[in-house]
């Protein structure tokens, strides 16, 4: 398991294989083409979009500001709401799932309580249960409790992350020595204090990884909110843009302006997470090897 910041430094100098780098160049181009297309085409208005000009280059006028204004005022500013909803679901769901996983993983790794082996085996089995198989029965349960079409219908199911528990268990078992915990207890620290002040800092790389995976999973979620929500003011941006795309495709002629909104909407919606990824690089890079390597 690599801890972040401890990437191995190879003693040999830099090696540059030109053919490999050229191959890599082609691959990078492939991965960037959709971004490029969206960046270029979100500067166009409907006539530029459908005018038949070069689709991979800017047209005569570049009007990001005007398009952004339209995007954020269209339908009473519903798009901004969707972005805020996505953020709320991702942050509350992601942080909640992480807190639960960290506590449970630590509990499984460091305490020998009755039923531990059995419950952990059940959780491991649950890693293999596809999340979408739960959506329909959860919907019916929630509709009986009056929870559908509320933010809780999206947040509560996001709290479940069995794989996070597994990752935290593996990491806590190896990275938190029993001796340190015992020493803290001998010194009179309670279990809560031992956990918060001794164990948590030692588990930080794995916590960041679980947080990242949970936040991204909630941010990406589509099936669950699509099923649970009918009020479009509660939609996350994925369901909202999906709905716009359905409308725009259904009446192709009458909704050319909606297409430019969808293109810019797609671009704006990916910016927050891309910035977060760049800013937090140092933290997630090492952590992703947890669980893959043992």
């Amino acid at each position: 398991m690599t801890a972040p910041g401890h990437t191995t430094h190879r003693s040999r100098g830099p090696r540059r294989h030109l053919p490999l780098q050229i191959l890599l160049g082609f691959l990078v181009t492939y991965f960037l083409v959709p971004f490029w297309w969206v960046i270029v085409n979100s500067s166009k208005d409907a006539s530029g979009l459908f005018g038949g000009g070069n689709t991979l280059w800017f047209s005569g006028q570049i009007d990001y500001i005007g398009n952004l204004k339209t995007l954020f005022t269209y339908n009473g500013g519903i798009y901004a709401r969707w972005i805020l909803n996505s953020t709320l679901y991702a942050v509350v769901g992601g942080v909640g799932a992480t807190v639960l996983s960290v506590m449970a993983g630590y509990g499984f790794a460091k305490f020998r309580f009755g039923g531990r082996r059995f419950s952990f085996a059940v959780i491991l089995g649950a890693v293999m249960v596809p999340a979408t198989a739960l959506v329909i029965p959860t919907f019916i349960m929630f509709s009986k409790l009056g929870l559908t079409n509320t933010i809780w219908a999206v947040i509560l199911p996001s709290l479940l992350n069995p794989f996070g528990v597994y990752l935290m268990h593996v990491y806590a078992r190896d990275a938190v020595p029993d001796e340190i915990l015992d020493a803290a207890r001998v010194d009179g620290a309670g279990e809560a204090r031992t956990f918060l002040q001794i164990a948590l800092p030692l588990m930080r790389p794995a916590i960041v990884t679980v947080l990242l995976l949970s936040v991204v999973a909630s941010w990406n979620n589509y099936f669950l909110p699509l099923a649970m929500l009918s009020d479009n003011r509660l939609f996350p941006v994925t369901v909202g843009l999906g709905m716009w795309q359905g409308i725009a495709s259904a009446n192709n002629a009458g909704s050319t302006s909606l297409w430019s909104l969808i293109i810019l909407g797609a671009l704006v919606s990916v910016i927050p997470l891309i910035i977060a990824f760049f800013a937090l690089q140092r933290y997630w890079r090492g952590g992703l090897s947890v669980g893959g390597l043992r």
Partner: protein, 314 residues
């Protein structure tokens, strides 16, 4: 897999018990306090829905006569229903092609990034990973634009060579259209996991191999790939679970590819249609539960076959 673990584990537990004696009551309580909150969510939002789906799938609702217990009739219906079977066959076929393609590309990129050092390589690593930050729905929307005949670039690009562009939204190319989207979305994520595993290998192994006269290819095939096989198995399992429950991308492209992607294109789309468009919750639950069963069995078989390669769930 899980069963064999717990058997071994139980044996181990007995031994530690004899050595250490009884676990103090306080440890039981503290342990459960840490695990409890997750346990509560687990029971309420995983065990209960699964049990409820199973329960619902044993009933049928008719216009006349109301709801009646039909035992396994819904499953008999599902496993003879061409909509479910074709959908299941599609996701299986798609997994068999898409997963190897993604893993091979991810592995190739990870090996290149591990072997070559330059500023461009560091830049590439981030760029290739970028699609992971994009919700699959938005990824599908973006590729839908690129496939589009009215404003996609394919017409221009193929026009340069005087050829007519391929229509990735047509019924005979949609498989490749979706394959491309999925590869674009996930290859970078798998690459990062494999790359992290490669970086964790002790470099003295390479020195030793070189002294023994091993070539670069031999180092790659005999040292690097075997040592990262746990990471490979991990991503294979995740790719399998993810691809079998295929929903977001075809659901989004449905609007653009009218007529190509029907409402029963994948089992999950079919379950969604049954439950939410037709309000047939019993049959929708049956399909969900059957799909969950198929995924569980596929993953279980896969883990059983690869158990000697060093599983991640141990």
């Amino acid at each position: 897999m899980t069963i064999s673990i717990s058997k071994d584990a139980r044996r181990g537990r007995k031994r530690t018990r004899q050595v250490r004696g009884r676990t103090p009551v306080r440890e039981h309580v503290t342990g459960w306090l840490f695990v409890g909150p997750f346990g509560l969510v687990f029971v309420a939002l995983l065990i209960a829905p699964l049990a409820y789906a199973l329960y619902l799938s044993l009933f049928q609702k008719k216009l006349i006569g109301g709801t009646s217990f039909v035992f396994l009739d819904n499953y008999a219906k599902a496993f003879t229903d061409p909509s479910f079977l074709d959908g299941a066959w599609f996701v299986l076929r798609f997994s068999l092609v898409a997963i190897p393609v993604q893993i091979v590309i991810a592995l190739a990129m990870a090996l290149i990034l591990d072997a070559v050092t330059s500023a461009f390589v560091r830049f590439s690593r981030l760029m290739v990973f970028l699609p992971y930050a994009i919700p699959t729905v938005i990824g599908a929307v973006m590729w839908g634009f690129l496939y589009s005949k009215s404003f996609g670039p394919l017409t221009d690009i193929f026009g340069l060579f005087g050829a007519s562009p391929p229509d990735f939204l047509s019924s005979h190319l949609i498989f490749y259209g979706l394959l491309n989207i999925v590869t674009w979305q996930w290859a970078g994520y798998y690459m990062i996991i494999l790359y992290a595993a490669l970086q964790g290998i002790d470099p003295t192994l390479y020195e030793a191999a070189r002294i023994d006269g091993a070539s670069g290819w031999q180092v790659t095939l005999r040292i690097k790939i075997p040592l990262i096989s746990p990471a490979l198995i991990l991503i294979l399992v995740f790719a399998l679970i993810g691809t079998l429950q295929f929903f977001n991308e075809p659901q989004i492209l449905r609007y653009l590819a009218a007529g190509t992607i029907g409402p029963d294109f994948t089992p999950n789309m079919y379950a969604y249609q049954q439950a939410f468009a037709l309000a047939n919750f019993n049959y929708g639950s049956t399909i969900s539960f059957a799909l969950g069963g198929v995924v569980f069995v596929c993953v279980y078989i896969f883990m059983f076959l690869t158990r000697k390669r060093g599983s991640f769930l141990s």
